[in-house]
Symmetry: C2
Subunit: 419 residues, 2 copies
């Protein structure tokens, strides 16, 4: 186990009826607040009214900055910073998913400084202070509600970069699973895939292989992401399913799973950030495709590790590491197909001819994240595995589960067949 | 999943060489410190000199309160409170295991108030403020380094009570696995058993059975306690074994495993507290015996839950719940015997005739912990299962592992035999 610092001071209020605590929890930190939210769902499902009522009952002055979209934009965060300054906001309250929370964090970081907030993302400035952030989570996915990270897309340069600092841990995050009842099936799946991708980035790129504490935790969380997602698709109002998916996604990226692993690189996210920066696809949709392609590209180099995962997760009995690794990848592909996640770049509407363009876009973030080993050439070679035409195309094990709005998978793998 | 609040602000510095951070980490909180430690091991293994050097280099004024013993005494904590006041200590630094850390917490809680510190334990006073506590952990066991709890024994009344409050979270805890290299085999085992007992209390008394997130985490930590303990017995200087045992024990009781379970009762600890209050045995030794007895006493009532645990942990394939539960209990008994933990009250030097006396001693804590369902009669009936004579005595599966200092087991169960 590598040395690590673990320090996560975010207070989590989890469960039914916790939403009403948003007023009192915010009041601890200030009186004038900026409420950040998305486009329409918060008003549609009634959460907006509940949150505003609690904030006003607590005697808070509420300014608003709505309209955050998926793959949140730097330009919109900059507007929020201006709004927060104009209203002399003391606290930023985020009500939404990862995009909303990340925008709120960018505003919290940007308000106290004279320079542009993007300089934190490019490493040109370091963070010294930030306004307090409080969150109400409405989507189980990013883990931003209990971590110090944020991701924004620079709409001028088409760069999607991430930045993290301990001052960006939300002070309090309110996690009411009922607030996710109205998340549509496709975004429920994208959220589960996002959590799985965080876990597998850590699991498969850990510098130290002797980490059974973290391994068991990550395997359990991957399993729960898959099973809880299925429950939520079967019944979107299954409280326990929503609760398990929500807490799983939070724990997947709150620092615990990474503690002790040594340097972890986030190479899958490196590539997906370019996909969603260039084509504005949902992050989780992109991650489903990159995850499968990345696993296939590393089936030999990481055969033992992938096989070990499959033996734990899927109780595989195959003793040959390469065969077991291929079976593991096939099981993930089956699950992704079953929940109707996209499986190939074509499913995302991205042509093979785009690969050089995507690979080139990863340069900037690879430099900032110090992933020198991920040259555009290597990224392109991984993206070739996302075409679903590398000899692994077989019949799919599709279930009868059916839901609207998710891109349909067009390719998959059959268990027990190695290419 | 039940509603919960999770808020654990303790900063963990984990790994080799982290000990030297004790000075700078303490300096954040004040200049005059009281260093609390145990009896001899800290000086013997050189840690005392390293800690003192770091504290002095950081320019701190160090007063000392050594001599904490296992099952730490209220009278000794009271002396520490007087010492801390006399030296106007601003920070309490604990260097030791759970007993030392709990004593430090009691001093931190007791210094600012005029009343006696025991009133917190009996629920007669509520905590409003406490001095900051910093810890250097030297024993993987109690989890006190990352939680808000403390346990003391009132030497006048022979009551061993626990108390917890969010203000008692250590500010920083330094976890260097090398600091546990010199822990002897018996106490290594007792520490692992302590961690397992925390996990199984939660696992088996959770009010909500639909908690797969927590279940997978707890199963993983139980497995790691058992495997890491064996590694440490084979080679006390196996860094990875010590690291895994240390981080496992911390995670077992830092609030994460209990979050979402609903009310958990700690009935096994209720009974063990009386054992170690009356007979001054190591807590982990008592827990080994109580754990086995409690499992046997609940083999029917909790058959499904115990069987589920065994299927995950030991890959049992038995489909009948009662048979699978008995196999699970037998596997725990085998492991305890293998690591030479005590298995019966007799192994602890406690006669069967003492049972009424022990059961009667549980009254006070049962009242404070609101475990009304644990009457002395019920406690006595559980203790009867700790005699090892309830028809389950069979040949033991003892390994050749041999170490000094642990009470030897005299009874066990054979796998796959149900009584």
């Amino acid at each position: 186990m590598h040395n690590f610092v673990f320090h996560n001071p975010t207070k989590i209020l989890f469960g039914q009826g916790t939403l009403e605590a948003i007023g009192p929890e915010t009041r601890i930190w200030g009186k004038r607040i900026l409420l950040v939210y998305g486009r329409s769902s918060l008003r549609r499902n009634g959460l907006y009214d509940q949150i505003l009522a609690s904030l006003r009952t607590a005697g808070l002055e509420v300014a608003e900055h709505g309209g955050v979209r998926a793959n949140p934009l730097l330009s919109h965060a900059r507007q929020g910073i201006r709004e927060a300054r104009a209203r002399q906001a003391e606290v930023i309250v985020a009500a939404g998913g990862g995009s909303v929370i990340d925008t709120a964090k960018a505003i919290a970081a940007g308000v106290p400084v004279e320079h542009d907030v993007w300089k934190f993302f490019t490493g040109k400035k370091s963070l010294k202070t930030a306004l307090p952030v409080i969150t109400v989570l409405t989507l189980a996915a990013s883990g931003s509600e209990m971590n110090s990270g944020m991701v924004l897309t620079n709409d001028a340069t088409r760069e999607k970069f991430g930045f993290g600092h301990r001052l960006l841990h939300p002070k309090t995050s309110i996690l009411d699973p009922q607030a996710t009842y109205t998340v549509p099936p496709d975004h429920t799946v994208f959220g589960a895939v996002d959590a799985i991708s965080h876990l597998l980035e850590f699991y498969l790129t850990a510098a130290d292989p002797d980490i059974p504490v973290q391994d068991r935790m990550m395997e359990g969380l991957v399993e729960n992401s898959m099973t809880a997602c299925r429950r939520c698709l079967r019944d979107p109002r299954d409280y326990s399913g929503r609760a398990n998916l929500m807490w799983t996604a939070t724990l997947a990226l709150n620092g615990l799973t990474a503690a002790g692993l040594g340097r972890v690189g986030f190479p899958m996210h490196l590539i997906e950030h370019s996909l969603s920066a260039l084509y504005d696809i949902p992050h989780g949709a992109g991650m489903a495709v990159i995850l499968l392609g990345w696993l296939r590209a590393h089936r030999t180099a990481l055969a033992h590790r992938i096989a070990g995962l499959g033996r734990r997760l899927f109780r595989l009995t195959e003793s040959d590491p390469l065969l077991a690794a291929d079976q593991t990848i096939a099981r993930f592909a089956d699950w992704l197909a079953d929940v109707k996640a996209p499986l190939t770049l074509a499913d995302l509407g991205i042509a093979a001819a785009e690969i050089p363009h995507i690979a080139d876009n990863t340069r900037g973030l690879a430099r900032i994240w110090r992933l020198a080993e991920y040259s555009p050439e290597r990224v392109a070679s991984i993206l070739l595995h996302c075409l679903g035409s590398d000899g692994q195309q077989t019949t799919m094990n599709r279930s009868n589960t059916s839901h609207q709005g998710a891109p349909g998978g067009q390719c998959g793998e059959e268990s027990d067949i190695s290419p």
